[in-house]
C-alpha cells in the first residue's frame, strides 16, 4: 500500500518528489457537464506507454499517442514506457490492472455505461507537457468523431 510520499521509502519518495518532478500548473480547471453514465460513450486514455506489438515503440520525450482499437486482443498489447520505476509484473499477469478494457466492456454489457469507444489510446506518461499538448488537441477531435463523451484517464 502506498500512502503519501512522506510514508514511502526514502529512495522512492525522492524519486517522486515534487522538487524533482516538475508538475504543470493551471489558472483554472474546466469541468464539463454531461449525460448520465448509462448514455455515455467512454474511451480509455492510458499513459502507460501501451501499444500493439509491432507499432512504433515510445522513445524518450515522446508526446504522441498510439492507437488501440477496441477489438485488439490482449495478447497484442505491449508496453514501452521509458521509466523503470514502476511495477510491470501486474501488467504481465493481467492487462486489466493497467488497461481495464474488459471491465469497461462488462459495464457496457450490463447497461451501466452506454457504450465503449471503437478506439482507445495510450500516451507514454513521462512526456514533456508541451510535447503532448498538440497531440492531445488532435486526439480530442478524433474522440468527438467517434462520438465519445467521456475519457477515462489511466496512469501507470
Amino acid at each position: 500500500m502506498v500512502r503519501r510520499l512522506s510514508e514511502l521509502p526514502e529512495v522512492e519518495a525522492k524519486h517522486l518528489s515534487t522538487t524533482r518532478i516538475v508538475c504543470p500548473t493551471y489558472d483554472d480547471t474546466p469541468l464539463l457537464p454531461g449525460k448520465p453514465l448509462a448514455a455515455r460513450r467512454v474511451a480509455i486514455i492510458s499513459t502507460a506507454g501501451l501499444h500493439k506489438r509491432g507499432d512504433r515503440a515510445f522513445d524518450r520525450d515522446d508526446g504522441s499517442y498510439r492507437v488501440i482499437p477496441a477489438e485488439t486482443p490482449a495478447s497484442d498489447l505491449v508496453m514501452s514506457h521509458v521509466s523503470v520505476n514502476f511495477d510491470r509484473t501486474g501488467f504481465q499477469q493481467d492487462h486489466n490492472v493497467v488497461f481495464p478494457i474488459d471491465r469497461l466492456r462488462e459495464l457496457v454489457a450490463d447497461g451501466t455505461v452506454g457504450s465503449m469507444a471503437s478506439v482507445h489510446y495510450s500516451f507514454m506518461g513521462a512526456f514533456p507537457v508541451d510535447a503532448a499538448q498538440p497531440h492531445a488537441k488532435h486526439l480530442a477531435g478524433l474522440l468527438k468523431a467517434d462520438k465519445v463523451d467521456a475519457a477515462l484517464l489511466v496512469p501507470v
Binding site: 480547471t29 453514465l37 524518450r60 475519457a151 496512469p155
Partner: protein, 235 residues
C-alpha cells in the same frame, strides 16, 4: 496524466482520471481524479481480480457526473502487501557458474517462459522485435564492444526483463512478484550485465547513452547495487 485532463476537457471531452501520486495531482488540479493507494504500475489495484477492478472503475466513472471540481476523491480500498515468503529461494538452479554465459541463462529460461505464455495466453515481450537470444547478444556486444543506439538497447533490455519475470512466474514455486524481482536483481547474469553496463553508458559521449545510464536502465530502488559494485563489495 493530469495535464491530459486539462487539455481534453478544454477541447470538449469530459474526463475522469486516476491519481497514483496525490502530491502531483494536488499541484496539477485536473478536472476529476480518484486517488488510489496502489503500487505504481497497478492503477486498478489487483491483477486477476475483476471485482476489485470494477469497483475502482465504477468510482472513477461516477465522478463524471460532478462539475464541482477540481475533484480529488480518495478511493477507500487499499491493497494489502503481498505475503513476504522469507527464505524463498528460486527453485530453478539459475545460479551463475564460472563458465556460465548470459546466452545459456536465457536458454535455461525458455521452457519456463513458454509455460508462462501458455498459462496466461499472452506475453508482454515484443517491443524490440528481437528474439531473446539476439537481445542477449546485443547486451553482451554492448558490454564487450561498441554501444548500440540507446533506444535499441533500452527496448532489448525491457524485453529481456519481461522475459525473465514472465518465465519466473511459471516456476514450480513462483513466490511473489516481489521475490521474483529480488531474484532477478540478486541472482541473474542479466542483472549483473546491466549493472556492469551502466558505467560504460555513463561514460559514453552520446547524450542518449548518458540518459539511459542515469535514468532508465537501473530502477531507483536498485541503484544502491551500482555503488556496491563500484566498491567491489561481494554479494
Amino acid at each position: 496524466m493530469g495535464a491530459l485532463g486539462h487539455f481534453l476537457e478544454r477541447e470538449g471531452i469530459p474526463t475522469a482520471g486516476i491519481s497514483l501520486v496525490r502530491e502531483h495531482t494536488e499541484i496539477v488540479r485536473p478536472p476529476r481524479a480518484l486517488w488510489v493507494t496502489f503500487e505504481l504500475g497497478r492503477p486498478l489495484g489487483k491483477p486477476d481480480d475483476a471485482g476489485f477492478q470494477t469497483r475502482v472503475l465504477r468510482a472513477q466513472l461516477d465522478m463524471l457526473e460532478r462539475t464541482d471540481g477540481p475533484l480529488l476523491v480518495d478511493y477507500p480500498e487499499d491493497v494489502e502487501g503481498e505475503v513476504d515468503l522469507t527464505g524463498w529461494a528460486c527453485p530453478i538452479s539459475l545460479a551463475p557458474r564460472p563458465s556460465d554465459t548470459l546466452g545459456a541463462e536465457i536458454d535455461r529460461l525458455m521452457a519456463w517462459y513458454d509455460r508462462a505464455v501458455a498459462a496466461r495466453g499472452r506475453t508482454t515481450v515484443g517491443t524490440s522485435g528481437l528474439d531473446m537470444r539476439a537481445a542477449g547478444r546485443l547486451v553482451n556486444d554492448a558490454l564487450d564492444g561498441e554501444l548500440p543506439p540507446a533506444q535499441s538497447l533500452k527496448l532489448a533490455v525491457d524485453d529481456l526483463r519481461a522475459f525473465y519475470l514472465e518465465a519466473a512466474s511459471a516456476f514450480p514455486d513462483p513466490g511473489t512478484t516481489r521475490t521474483r524481482v529480488a531474484w532477478f536483481w540478486d541472482e541473474t547474469l542479466l542483472a549483473k550485465a546491466l549493472l556492469a553496463l551502466q558505467p560504460k553508458l555513463a561514460a559514453s559521449a552520446d547524450k542518449q547513452h548518458k540518459l539511459l545510464a542515469a535514468l532508465t536502465l537501473i530502477p531507483a530502488t536498485e541503484r544502491h547495487r551500482l555503488e556496491r559494485d563500484r566498491l567491489g563489495v561481494s554479494t
